[in-house]
Symmetry: C2
């Protein structure tokens, strides 16, 4: 008969995700006791306002006992009986400060908070190592997708050279609906907001910040060196037109907001932007609010992991996997130098090799095509395919082409050569294979 | 400056996979030394015949030094300096006996051998626990797909109720080519054998044994109780006709050899058989020798992991992930009772709920359809869709239909009711959603 281990948790926050974890642990308590010999008990839950929290929980059918609730963070982070602090507040502060306080008080910390982690990772990791406790964050990227453990453990002996991630469910939902319904960004966004699938202030999602925080975590682990949020080039989806999605489709491509991290030698590129993928690419078929991460390594070759990137219960599943790991085994620290600065071995480039979808608005006159070709040819950017549609609007026609692989800066220089009296650059979307 | 940890390995076998691991460790040695502070050294390699091994390795460009080779297993399993024994022999014996000897001599064991593991797991696990060492087998199912760690760690606090796996690359390759080229099984098999993608004796793959060994490992971990090879219903792909694939396609389905494990309460069903999936199912698009595993749990919901199920380097990546884990952290044992017998809590059923694709050969005469419907109706199996083609062969026509969900045994009883003078059952393929 194995001895039962008591595991006391403290929660920082108890909103959507915290509620999911509460529900999972209540539901699974006896099973985890029977099979893992751990008796997981929630001792304290930090909330902003106890009365309000009781009311919200009652509405959700969550019977969180009043005596667990506190409005004082140190009741959680400093409670001598709490071994694991779970942070569910979201946002950088005060979440990061509270996590650091918990780590300094020798408590393991489990978090799903990519913002607080991405911006304060070095400090939090240092606190964990000083106290000899662990910092777990499987749920911080891709929800239930096991990418953190796969990069840190399964692929530890591999050499990862490429990650493509659909790591923001809101933008994938919007782009999927734009693709399926042919509607414009604004209309779908408004509908997604109505359905609760986009925030009232959607900036962090649609401008790609959320994906960039996550990509900085993934790239750091995959490349074994710090990649900060500031190292990531970022473009959101607010400038995407329905017609771009339609033209891309006609040419065999599907539009996704991708987090891309590539490494060749010590040259690293990390970027978040709308990306056309061939319709046959496995990521092109990941629709709606699903997330998926594609990894390529020297040995593992192609791998893809797909699952729910958000939602209270899937996120709770990932978090509770971390809680059990924290309860049963010791911490395992990332194997790269823990500095807040970007890894000095890396050269971050903004001049990556890419193909590009270009949409121009050109005057409908002879010789225009030749002059456009000249601008791109002058920068050694060659054109792989072209689409020209009939139908003049204000004397102009859309002219769409996809380039062969070229350097990002060369493509930009070529576009800058265009004579605005003849044609203007309306859209540039990168194309990956 | 962290101290360097010496890690000495012994190999049992050095064929395709062993060669891949040798290559990876040679290539990654300095990186692993730098980032994980482990100095991995191969001390001994068991081969059948030293001269032959030298010749084969030379042909493959592998410079395995002669002094590492031995023809004596105990030079590996009993060497006092070896900490981790890696088994690459394949087949049940003598691999299982040698792994047990190594575990008894307090060496960690890393293996990709699903046969030896599935048939001797309890004994090997007991030996590991007695010696306080670990038994690692991430590469035993799905090659580089991280399913073992995901089931044991990430999803430890979840309640898995369904697994669908494409876990045999050879049969997926054959079925993919049959689907794409419309050719018959025998022709594609012969070609796959010529290309080295199917064994000269393909039985273990095409009859589903390989998938069944793997499924027994997955189901045991997912359901937290022993599921043995003998608990698994098994049908191979040798009886599949090109026309079945074509008819299924016409009705919107794609054929895959699936390992299926479901649990509802304590009722467990585990089966390996050809399965029609809707063409829109993510597994339906996993083609060629790729593997993929689809998991559904009460909390995580749908998850899919996809990657190379075989090949020397992908398998080596998974194995070396285990080696580094064995070197850096302690063992973590499965959380179910370690008996060789099937878990006594489970009721294994052979009467699962399924839809079925049925192909009959029927006389081309009035009233036949009514009499067929009667046979199925008498067993409460109702028909969801039907396909009848023109063109009589020997006075008979193919009659194809897909049933609504029904009990397996009811479908079988209905088929047994058919009057052979009117129609015969030519094919029955289960359909999952």
């Amino acid at each position: 008969m194995q001895q039962i281990k008591q595991v006391s948790l403290g929660f920082l926050g108890c909103g959507n995700i915290g509620g999911g974890v509460f529900r999972l642990l209540r539901d699974m308590h006896d099973e985890l006791l029977a099979r893992d010999h751990i008796d997981i008990v929630i001792r304290k839950i930090l909330v902003k306002d106890i009365e309000e929290a009781l009311e919200i929980n009652a509405r959700k059918g969550l019977d969180v006992p009043r005596e667990l609730l506190t409005e004082n963070a140190s009741d959680v982070t400093q409670d001598s009986e709490i071994q694991i602090v779970c942070e569910f507040m979201g946002g950088e502060q005060p979440a990061a400060r509270m996590m650091e306080a918990a780590l300094n008080a020798s408590k393991h910390v489990v978090t799903a908070n990519k913002v607080a982690l991405a911006l304060n990772w070095a400090q939090l990791q240092a606190a964990a190592e000083r106290s000899g406790v662990g910092l777990w964050y499987e749920a911080s990227v891709g929800g239930v997708i096991p990418i953190i453990r796969v990069l840190s453990v399964n692929l530890e002996s591999d050499r990862i050279d490429r990650i493509y991630g659909i790591i923001n469910g809101t933008t994938n939902y919007i782009l999927t609906r734009m693709t399926q319904e042919g509607k414009d960004y604004g209309e779908i966004l408004a509908d997604a907001q109505k359905l609760g699938l986009a925030e009232p202030n959607p900036e962090a999602d649609v401008e790609g910040m959320d994906a960039a925080y996550k990509l900085s975590i993934l790239a750091s682990l995959a490349f074994h060196g710090r990649v900060t949020y500031g190292n990531i080039y970022r473009e959101g989806i607010t400038g995407i037109q329905a017609e771009d999605i339609a033209f891309g489709r006609e040419m065999g491509y599907t539009l996704k907001l991708l987090g891309i991290a590539k490494r060749q030698g010590n040259v690293v590129e990390t970027r978040v932007h709308p990306t056309f993928l061939p319709a046959s690419h496995p990521l092109a078929r990941v629709d709606g609010s699903l997330n998926a991460i594609f990894v390529h390594g020297a040995f593992c070759q192609d791998m893809m992991l797909q699952g729910r990137g958000a939602g209270d219960l899937p996120t709770a599943s990932a978090i509770c996997g971390d809680i059990v790991e924290a309860a049963l085994t010791g911490p395992r620290y990332p194997t790269f130098e823990n500095t807040p600065e970007p890894c000095p071995d890396f050269t971050f480039t903004d001049n990556w090799l890419t193909r590009a979808y270009i949409r121009l608005s050109a005057v409908d006159a002879p010789g225009v095509l030749a002059r456009v070709s000249e601008c791109f040819g002058a920068e050694s950017v060659s054109i792989a395919s072209m689409l020209q549609k009939e139908g003049t609007v204000n004397g102009r026609v859309p002219l769409i082409f996809i380039t062969h692989p070229a350097r990002e800066q060369a493509i930009r220089r070529a576009a800058a050569r265009l004579d605005p009296s003849i044609c203007t650059l309306e859209q540039m979307i990168r194309v990956e294979e």
